[in-house]
């Protein structure tokens, strides 16, 4: 009997369904990272080459190496966020450490001709999720609790089916029902599901909403790059990347009654949602660079989607204070997940990237005293809508298949391909170099009402002498985005418009080998 019960429990525990669409764009919409030198020129590296960051952009650029070097790139980011939520502005800030592209690249020249090859072993923080977002505002239209009411009503489940130690809604509807944030009411003889704050909204009053979200982690990618140079004319390269994703979110959403009425059913609630996503992935980057003339470089690169195996752990807590009758209730998702934090596993297939690039290099000669400058530009297309989620179950249920299909359709409908542009240049004065750059990352949302783009202004200095080089860069990232604390099917959605600035101070220390 115990074996049978264990089998049943294990079977149920494999009912993995899916994630949320926002995950897709979170893991694809971020500016390119690199060495300090590369970041100072806007991150353009699709055709320039000769920098280890070519490993992560166009590996053919490694083919320019006939020497070797080791680089180390620490950094520091300063986030300043301004959120506008229902006519109220809120500011927040968060600083964190970061690191750019670091590693080793070695060139192998052929002494009999102009051919050569190169190999690189590099690591970079592809994305940095460290940030804190706050916003608050009055809302007379909708409540955070309504998403739970909607979920529970649509499920067709009874209260008792949801309230059990292995609930199907352990993080959302189950705590909400347990703490009476949502409940059933009879309207015109028909039972309906209603959130307690809705009594205030129905009375024509507003509730105060507060959202705080602290996010941590990043995507750290390890890569092995190989490149070959054919007569200094054609360059081909490939990279195998192994990214490790770690993202944690600690979100607290509060709602409170702003009136002095002590009998309008609702006083306040605070809902805390903590989850962490971790997992490994793999991707391939291929590229080529053609040098039709001595000073001109043309590049083309293709990045395959990252195929990731990810895992989520999650816990939520809910505290409510209700009126008429007065009562305070607390609920934890652990009650509905057998007192063990829930864990779900899934696969994600990321986005494609296609990069076209051109560079003009003044004075490609050996004497460094006569090397003068370069200018380079990348144009990149990213298929944000191509991200897909899938179950990692051996035998996914029909419910899972249906949800994944719907989820992937939503991603396809919500996000579009975006065009990104990067341009930058350098002036060289023997051992000292000065650089400027600019980058623009397009809106991944199909909905034109949602403004979401990024502009990066960058500048830096470099010093190179006696086998050592040091580069220092500042990147000022100005971005717009939207944050939906909750989404409703039967009401117009509300969101916070975000204006974020991120200062990124990056230094690279390198040694010629």
């Amino acid at each position: 009997m115990k074996k049978y019960l264990l089998f049943c429990l294990l079977f149920v525990s494999k009912q993995i369904i899916a994630q949320v669409p926002d995950d897709a764009v979170r893991y694809s919409n971020f500016p390119q990272n690199g060495t300090a030198r590369n970041l100072a020129i806007g991150g353009a590296m699709g055709s320039l080459g000769g920098d280890i960051n070519a490993t992560f952009v166009n590996p053919a650029g490694l083919g320019f190496y006939k020497t070797g070097e080791f680089v180390f790139t620490p950094g520091f980011i300063l986030n300043n966020n301004k959120a506008s939520y229902r006519d109220t502005d809120t500011k927040s800030k968060k600083n964190a450490m970061s690191f750019g592209t670091s590693g080793l690249v070695i060139g192998f020249p052929n002494r009999r001709n102009k051919n050569s090859s190169a190999v690189s072993l590099a690591i970079t923080q592809t994305a940095n999720f460290n940030n804190q977002l706050n916003y608050t505002g009055l809302n007379n239209y909708s409540s955070f609790s309504e998403q739970f009411a909607e979920e529970f009503a649509k499920s067709g489940k009874s209260i008792n089916e949801v309230l059990n130690s292995n609930s199907i809604f352990p993080y959302t509807s189950a705590p909400a029902l347990y703490a009476y944030l949502i409940d059933t009411v009879k309207v015109n003889g028909v039972y309906q599901v209603k959130g307690a704050p809705e009594y205030i909204l129905d009375a024509g009053q507003a509730i105060r909403q507060e959202m705080t979200k602290v996010t941590k982690g990043g995507i750290t990618e390890f890569a092995l790059g190989l490149a070959s140079n054919h007569a200094d004319k054609w360059f081909f390269g490939g990279t195998i990347g192994i990214p490790y994703l770690s993202y944690s979110s600690n979100m607290t959403f509060k709602e409170s009654d702003t009136s002095s009425n002590g009998s309008n059913h609702f006083k306040s609630f605070d809902y805390n949602d903590q989850f962490k996503t971790t997992g490994w992935g793999v991707n391939v980057k291929l590229g080529m660079i053609y040098r039709p003339k001595e000073y001109i470089r043309l590049g083309l690169a293709l990045h395959t989607p990252t195929f990731s195996s990810l895992s989520d752990t999650r816990t939520t807590t809910l505290n409510t204070q209700l009126e008429n009758p007065v009562g305070s209730f607390s609920a934890s998702s652990l009650t509905f997940t057998n007192n063990v934090a829930g864990e779900s596993k899934y696969f994600q297939t990321g986005v494609w990237k296609l990069i076209g690039s051109a560079s003009y290099v003044f004075r490609e000669i050996e004497n460094v005293k006569r090397q003068r400058a370069f200018i380079t530009a990348d144009l990149e297309y990213v298929t944000h809508g191509a991200s897909r989620f899938n179950s990692n179950n051996d035998q996914p249920t029909q419910d899972e298949k249906n949800y994944y299909k719907a989820l992937n359709n939503v991603i396809k409908a919500e996000y579009k391909g975006a065009i990104n542009a990067r341009i930058g240049g350098e002036l060289k004065f023997n051992t000292i170099m000065g650089r400027l750059g600019f980058a623009y990352y397009g809106n991944p949302y199909k909905d034109a009402a949602i403004k979401a783009n990024k502009m990066l202004l960058s500048g830096g200095l470099g010093y190179r002498n006696k086998g050592v080089f040091f580069d220092l860069t500042y990147v000022h990232n100005i971005s717009k985005d939207a944050d939906f604390a909750y989404r409703l099917e039967d009401r117009a959605n509300t969101y916070a418009s975000l204006k974020q600035t991120r200062g990124n101070i990056v230094a690279t220390l390198g040694f010629k080998l």
């Binding site: 009503a153 309230l163 015109n188 086998g467």
Partner: protein, 226 residues
């Protein structure tokens, strides 16, 4: 933290020592031009290697010559080494860098599969969301943008309410479609205002009592309300 700084310092020192070749001359910049390393330097290296090899050969010749004269010199560098450290049976004590696979009856060379039995069932419910919320609220009432307010009109079927303007469109929608002013959440009251079809409580397996469960878990009873 100190260990990291120390590691970094050691790394810097190690790579600094590797840059000797460029300390006197120009430091190449591979973005502009990547030179092949200086040939003379390599020739010097080759010469040094040749010299070292000659020295080794001379020493071997000398040893052979001494061995012919005196047998006490013959066992040096013998191919057969019966020393404890290089035992063919792999009984290494300290200096061998062995992989761990020994001919040892008390040490299995094969990995033993130890299945992890987890008696506690892990709930694998993902971070789900009502995907209908992404499709956008679409209702005939919303089709008239002249209703005003600060509602954003994005595309057919996608409307946003981002303002508390009392005369705004969103306010109208709230009043029309809210379930009404029901005053009790225990399911016993009967109100007359218009309902919202999407939030009707109609469980497929009807059960409104506080006991029993159709799930694999144990039932959780809600705390009572006065």
């Amino acid at each position: 933290m100190n260990a990291k700084i120390l590691l970094l310092a050691l790394t810097v020192a190690a790579f600094s020592s590797c840059t000797t070749a460029y300390k006197s001359g120009q430091t190449p910049d591979d973005v502009y031009y990547s030179p092949i390393k200086v040939v003379e330097e390599n020739n010097n290296n080759d010469q040094q290697q040749d010299q070292a090899q000659n020295n080794r050969q001379t020493a071997e010749d000398r040893q052979i010559r001494w061995g012919i004269r005196d047998r006490r010199w013959r066992d040096w560098n013998d191919d057969y080494d019966y020393s404890y450290h290089n035992s063919p049976y792999g009984y290494c004590s300290c200096s061998c860098n062995n992989s761990g696979y020994y001919y040892n009856p008390y040490y299995s060379p094969w990995p033993v599969y130890n299945p992890k039995v987890n008696p506690v069932m892990v709930n694998s419910t993902p971070r789900m969301i009502n995907l209908g919320g992404y499709n956008g609220y679409n209702n005939a009432v919303n089709s008239n943008p002249k209703l005003g307010g600060n509602t954003n009109w994005a595309s057919p079927g996608k409307q946003y309410n981002n303002s508390n303007n009392q005369t705004g469109f969103g306010r109208v929608v709230r009043q029309i479609f809210s379930p009404g002013s029901a005053t009790n959440n225990t399911g016993s009251n009967n109100n007359s205002s218009s309902g919202n079809n999407t939030r009707t409580y109609s469980p497929s397996s009807s059960s409104s009592s506080s006991s029993g469960s159709s799930s694999s878990g144990q039932p959780v009873t809600r705390p009572g309300r006065n």
